[in-house]
C-alpha cells in the first residue's frame, strides 16, 4: 500500500530532478511541451471532464491569453506574469459571453457552438491588421522582442530550465485545484450535472449557473497557458484560436481519461511525444503522419478503454491492493 500512496511524490521528484540529469535541449523542450499539454488539457478538464461539457472551443481561451498578455506587454509595458492574470480575467469575461448562448444547448450541439466561437475568433484575428491603434498584424502574427538573460520580470529565459520549472509549478497548481474542487460542493454538483443534468436540476441545482462557473475557471486557466506559450515561443499567431488545436487539447484529456485528475497528464505523456517526434524526424515532409498516429491511438483507446486510460488502470490497481489487504 505504501508505495502506491507515495507514487505521486515519486513522480514529482522525478519531474523535479529531470532537468538536472537530462541536459539535452531537445528532450528538455519535449518535456516542456508535455507539461504544457498536460496543463492545457487539465484546464479543459474542468469544463470538459468534471462538468462533462465537451467544449471544442478551448483554444479560444489559449488565444485570448496569448494575445492579451502580449498586447499588454507591448503597449502598456505590463510584465507578462501580471498580464497572465489579466489575460485570465479577460478570458473569464469572454467565457460568460460564450457560455450564455452555448449552455442553452446540450451534447454535440454545445460542442459545435463552442467550436463556432473559436473559429469566429480565429477568422477575426486572422483578418484584422489593426484595431483602435493596436496592431494585431493579422495572419502574420506578433513577435515579442527578445531580451537578454534570465528575467522573471520579462518572463524570458535564455536557460530553458526556467520554463520547465514554471510550467511544472503551474501544472502542479492546477492539479491541486482540480483535486480540491472535485470533492467540494461545486465538484459534486458538476459531476451530478455531467452524469444526469435532468436529475441534477430536479434536485435543486441550477445547472446553467454551475456550468458557467466551471467554464469561467476553465477559461481562466486556459488563458494562462496562452501567456506561457507566448513567452516560451516569443511568437503568437491566429492559429492559436484554431478549432484543430481545441481538438488536440480535448484528445489529450480524453485519451488519458476525461474527468480524472491524472488523465490529462497521462494523455499528454502519450500524445505529445508523438507530435514532437514526428515534427522532429519528419519535419514538414509528411505533414499528415502525426494525425494518422493520433487517429490510431484514438481508435485503440476507444476500443479498449472508452473512458480513457486512467479509469481502467486505477480500477486494476485498486483490486490488486484490495486482494492483498
Amino acid at each position: 500500500m505504501a508505495w502506491k500512496r507515495n507514487l505521486p511524490y515519486l513522480a514529482l521528484l522525478i519531474a523535479i530532478l529531470f532537468p538536472i540529469f537530462v541536459r539535452d535541449p531537445y528532450f528538455l523542450h519535449a518535456a516542456i511541451m508535455i507539461l504544457f499539454s498536460a496543463y492545457l488539457a487539465s484546464s479543459w478538464n474542468i469544463i470538459g471532464g468534471l462538468a462533462g461539457q465537451h467544449s471544442f472551443g478551448h483554444s479560444a481561451f489559449l488565444g485570448i491569453g496569448a494575445y492579451s498578455s502580449t498586447l499588454l506587454l507591448l503597449y502598456l509595458n505590463i510584465p507578462p506574469f501580471l498580464g497572465m492574470i489579466l489575460g485570465g480575467m479577460i478570458a473569464s469575461l469572454v467565457s460568460i459571453g460564450i457560455g450564455y448562448p452555448c449552455f442553452k444547448l446540450r451534447g454535440p450541439y454545445f460542442a459545435l457552438s463552442t467550436l463556432a466561437f473559436t473559429e469566429i475568433f480565429r477568422i477575426v484575428v486572422t483578418t484584422t491588421e489593426t484595431i483602435g491603434g493596436i496592431d494585431l498584424r493579422g495572419a502574420a502574427g506578433i513577435l515579442i522582442p527578445l531580451r537578454k538573460g534570465n528575467s522573471f520580470l520579462n518572463f524570458q529565459f535564455a536557460d530553458k530550465t526556467f520554463y520547465y520549472y514554471i510550467i511544472l509549478a503551474m501544472l502542479f497548481l492546477i492539479l491541486f485545484i482540480y483535486k480540491r474542487m472535485e470533492k467540494s460542493r461545486l465538484g459534486i454538483f458538476l459531476s451530478a450535472i455531467r452524469d444526469n443534468e435532468e436529475a441534477a436540476r430536479s434536485l435543486g441545482i441550477s445547472a446553467t449557473r454551475y456550468k458557467m462557473i466551471a467554464l469561467i475557471v476553465s477559461g481562466f486557466f486556459g488563458a494562462t497557458a496562452g501567456t506561457f506559450y507566448a513567452q516560451f515561443f516569443l511568437y503568437i499567431e491566429p492559429i492559436l484560436f484554431s478549432s484543430a488545436l481545441s481538438i488536440e487539447i480535448l484528445l489529450v484529456a480524453i485519451v488519458g481519461g476525461a474527468g480524472t485528475l491524472t488523465g490529462p497528464l497521462i494523455g499528454a505523456l502519450m500524445l505529445t511525444p508523438v507530435s514532437e517526434m514526428t515534427r522532429a524526424y519528419l519535419g514538414g515532409t509528411y505533414a499528415g503522419v502525426q494525425l494518422i498516429l493520433y487517429g490510431a491511438i484514438l481508435v485503440a483507446v476507444m476500443m479498449f478503454a472508452p473512458q480513457g486510460i486512467v479509469p481502467p488502470l486505477s480500477r486494476r490497481y485498486r483490486s490488486l491492493f484490495e486482494r492483498r489487504a
Binding site: 444526469n196 436529475a199 430536479s202 435543486g204 441545482i205
Partner: protein
C-alpha cells in the same frame, strides 16, 4: 391558506393535449394515488409541476406561491421534489455523494450534508452501500436511492413516478412500507403515480384518476375503483356505464 392547489392546468404539445383543464388539491401529509391508463398525462403533469415543462394555462399554487414559470431547481428549493419513472442515478458518483448532491440543496456545509445524507440512506436501508458507485446498484436499490435523494432535499411534497414498476412482489411490499414510513416520520405529502393497483389501494388516502389529460374521478380508494367512468377508461366502452 391552501397547501397545494392546481387550477385549470393545460398543457399541449402541438396538437396533442397532454393535460386538459386539470385541477386538484393536496393536503399536508396526505398520500394521493394518481392513476390512469398509459398516456393519460400523469408524467406530463409531474413534468409541469416540477418546472420541466411550462403549461399554456393554469396555476400551480404552493402555499399561495405560483410555481408556473419557475425552473426545476427553484421548485425543488421551495420544497417540491420528484423521482423519475426511469431511474436516473448519478452513475459515477457513490451512493453517499448521490444523496449529498440533494442534501446540498439545503446546506453549504459538507459535514451537515454528509450527516443528513447518512441518516436518510440509513432510513431507506442503503447504509451498507454508501461507498459503491450508484451505477452498481440493483434496480430496487436504485429506486430507493432515487427516493433517498428526493428526501435529502427535505421536501414538503414528494412526487413519486412509478416507484413500484419493475419490482417483484417482495420488493413492492418493502417499498410500500417505505412510503408509509416516509409519511409517518417526515410528514411529507406524497403524490404517487402507480400502476400496481393493489399497492395504490393500500397506501393512498385518496385517489385521483386521469384519462386523456383530464381528471375523471377522485375519492377514497374503494369508491374510485367502483366508479363506472374509471372502469370505462381502463377496460373500454362495453364495461362502462350502460
Amino acid at each position: 391558506m391552501a397547501f397545494f392547489v392546481i387550477q385549470g392546468l393545460h398543457k399541449h404539445f402541438g396538437g396533442l393535449v397532454a393535460v386538459r383543464d386539470f385541477s386538484m388539491t393536496i393536503e399536508r401529509g396526505e398520500i394521493v394515488g394518481l392513476i390512469g391508463p398509459n398516456g393519460a398525462g400523469k408524467t406530463t403533469l409531474f413534468n409541469v409541476i416540477t418546472g420541466f415543462h411550462s403549461p399554456q394555462r393554469g396555476q400551480i399554487l404552493f402555499k399561495s406561491k405560483n410555481l408556473v414559470g419557475l425552473g426545476p431547481d427553484k421548485i425543488c428549493q421551495l420544497g417540491i421534489v420528484r423521482t423519475f419513472q426511469i431511474v436516473m442515478p448519478f452513475q459515477t458518483l457513490t451512493v453517499l455523494d448521490n444523496a449529498k448532491v440533494a442534501a446540498f440543496c439545503r446546506t453549504r456545509s459538507n459535514e451537515e450534508a454528509t450527516q443528513s445524507s447518512m441518516e436518510i440512506l440509513e432510513f431507506l436501508g442503503l447504509k451498507d452501500k454508501i461507498h459503491l458507485p450508484a451505477g452498481n446498484l440493483t434496480l430496487s436499490q436504485k429506486k430507493k436511492l432515487e427516493m433517498a435523494r428526493a428526501l435529502a432535499t427535505q421536501p414538503e411534497v414528494l412526487l413519486l413516478d412509478e416507484t413500484l414498476a419493475g419490482l417483484n412482489a417482495t420488493e413492492i411490499e418493502g417499498m410500500v412500507e417505505t412510503v408509509r414510513k416516509i409519511r409517518a416520520e417526515k410528514g411529507v405529502a406524497i403524490v404517487a403515480v402507480e400502476h400496481v393497483m393493489r399497492a395504490v389501494m393500500k397506501i393512498s388516502d385518496r385517489i385521483v384518476v386521469m384519462d386523456q389529460g383530464q381528471k375523471i374521478a377522485e375519492g377514497p380508494p374503494q369508491e374510485v375503483v367502483r366508479n363506472p367512468e374509471v372502469i370505462k377508461a381502463y377496460l373500454g366502452e362495453e364495461y362502462g356505464p350502460a
